[in-house]
Amino acid sequence: MILKKIDEKYSKEPSGAAVSSSRKDIHSESYLQTVWRRFKRHHLASVSLAVLVVVVGAALLAPVIAPYDPTEIAGPFAEPPSKKFWLGTDLIGRDVLSRLLYATRISLLVGVMATLISTVIGVILGLSAGYFGGAADMIIMRFTDMVMSFPYILLVLVAAAIFKPGLWNIILILGFVDWPGIARLVRGNVLNLRETNFVKSSIVAGMPLRHILFSEILPNTVAPILVYSTSVLALSILDEAALSFLGQGIQPPDASLGNMLNGAQSLTVLTSQPWLWIPPGVMIVVIVMAINFIGDALRDALDPNGGR
């Protein structure tokens, strides 16, 4: 039964010369090529990647393609979408489309930078805790638990209140809050890797500690880190939105997806001016979903035991 299924699966593949040539490729291809081939099999992720590329492209090109200055009053207040203003104007007459482009830019920047910071912190702490063990492990992991168990949103709010809200402060705050997951993940992997023969072989070969940590152990744990950091990326974009929605994030007149949603706190906007909150809302959902799908596919594609 199972064999039959497998047969069917393979008979769907192009036959004859095409098969033999693709088989040949499998043996000579590099790791990245393998990953890319496996990634492409996830259709949802491929679509997500395309969407994300478009969104990121639009965000990067915002100064070129935005029809109006995002902070300037360009037309009448709260005008519904029209030919002149594709997504309408907001409560003080700024073009929503231009603001959306710039907001995406800021939100992505916050997400990426915060993820970078938390990944670097998490990796360094996780590596040292896992490799050195003992007291270092104890101190680092208890500190991690502490950060993890602290009411997250409250911590961010308090921090935002102390260090004036602003782009770089938001990035730093989110970056210093999102690392515990990565630190735990890395530590767990390092505990395993430390006992493997190739790490022992490197010690025996007299390799310096720096080499063992960063050139032997770290490359072996890059895949899970990459997968995890996609979810951190999605989370920090959401966190930025939440923070800005609460008024502690990016401050107007700068636009971010969160503070564009801010307007939806009023009931009139929510019920009768949907063009003010649907575009940023949809944008957040699209970005976060695309990132999560990509992360899922990456997990499969990077898995060394994933077969072909």
């Binding site: 006992e195 190739f198 007299g206 050139s215």
Partner: protein
């Protein structure tokens, strides 16, 4: 001339649930230049721990509490990690049991070998690559240029062990410790790898400690054999001596377990009854006594190393008193 490696009274303990367990108990032996010494014994008798203690690789919970390890007249125990790194890999190196996990899965064979060459030798990338291909050819790797670009998972166990040997030899070590280098391989590959190790050892006049539980493997390879049981060395002699005149009942029993080509069809292989005692550090007398067919009262007293002449020593009072001395 002093010995290349001199181990004196090495005692290693591991922290257990109830205090500490002595897993290597006052072990002393030496290895000379160009000599192959085999450590034989069943699983859990302290062979690997002995080698890990020498390399300073004990890890968490393990510690050497007594003894000394002199390598090239330098004390290895208590040597700072930095100095140790200069010796490990250069003059003293080790290959492990399981070749499947001994190579880093995310790098190509080539990058791993050149890395280990360049750590110890001031060579350029090109030169290191040349040397790596040379080494791979030397360990009998067909098509070394091609293997250079491959990832470990595309090689078989035997191939990977060859790569490990090539890496270990990259800096012409004086002493190679091979911890069961062939257990994970099938028999024909085993024979090839052992032959290769022996050839390379003779070619480079290198010393080797070969750890194995397969006493059959020892016969063609070893110059001297050390039999370990329950954390102690119970017998030591030259290879011919130990196969011709085993003194300790445990060694005799070990030899009895090996099938030979001259056996009758109906010969049953003899197994040693019982198991290696747990917590063997509590036993004051002979640690094999419980499983020994020649047990007597004298066995409950601590056993000395009795000298049987010709460098043959064994920890068995019964054998000694029966006048088995002399060779």
């Amino acid at each position: 001339m002093p010995h290349l490696l001199e181990v004196q009274d090495l005692t290693t303990v591991f922290a257990g649930d109830y205090g500490r367990n002595i897993s290597v108990d006052h072990v002393s032996f030496h290895v000379d230049q160009g000599e192959v010494v085999c450590l034989v014994g069943e699983s859990g008798c302290g062979k690997s721990v002995t080698s890990l203690s020498i390399m300073g690789l004990l890890g968490k919970g393990g510690a050497v509490i007594d003894g000394s390890v002199l390598f090239d007249s330098k004390e290895l125990l208590n040597m700072p990690e930095k100095e140790l790194d200069l010796i490990r890999g250069n003059e003293l190196t080790m290959i492990f049991q399981d070749p499947l996990t001994s190579l880093n899965p995310v790098f190509t064979i080539g990058s791993q070998i050149t890395e280990s060459i360049r750590t110890h030798m001031p060579l350029s990338k090109e030169q290191a690559k040349k040397r790596a291909v040379e080494l791979l050819t030397k360990v009998g790797m067909p098509d070394a240029e091609n293997v250079f670009k491959k990832y470990p998972h595309t090689l078989s166990g035997g191939m990977r062990q060859r790569v490990m040997i090539a890496m270990a030899l990259s800096c012409r070590p004086k002493l190679l410790i091979a911890d069961e280098p062939t257990t994970a391989l099938d028999v024909t590959i085993q024979a090839q790898i052992m032959k290769l190790l022996r050839e390379l050892q003779q070619e480079n006049d290198m010393s080797m400690i070969l750890i194995t539980h397969d006493i059959g493997l020892v016969a063609n390879t070893a110059d001297r054999v050390i039999v370990m049981y329950a954390g102690q060395i119970i017998e030591e002699a030259s290879a011919e001596e130990i196969f011709a005149h085993p003194k300790h009942p445990y060694t005799q029993a070990l030899l009895d377990t090996v099938p030979t080509i001259r056996d009758d069809a109906d010969r049953k292989l003899r197994a040693i009854p019982g198991m290696v005692p747990e917590n063997y550090d509590d036993i004051t007398g002979c640690r094999f006594a419980e499983r020994c067919p020649y047990r007597c009262d004298a066995c409950s007293k601590p056993q000395a190393d009795y000298d049987f002449g010709c460098g043959h020593r064994a920890k068995c009072v019964v054998a000694y008193e029966r006048g088995m001395a002399g060779c």
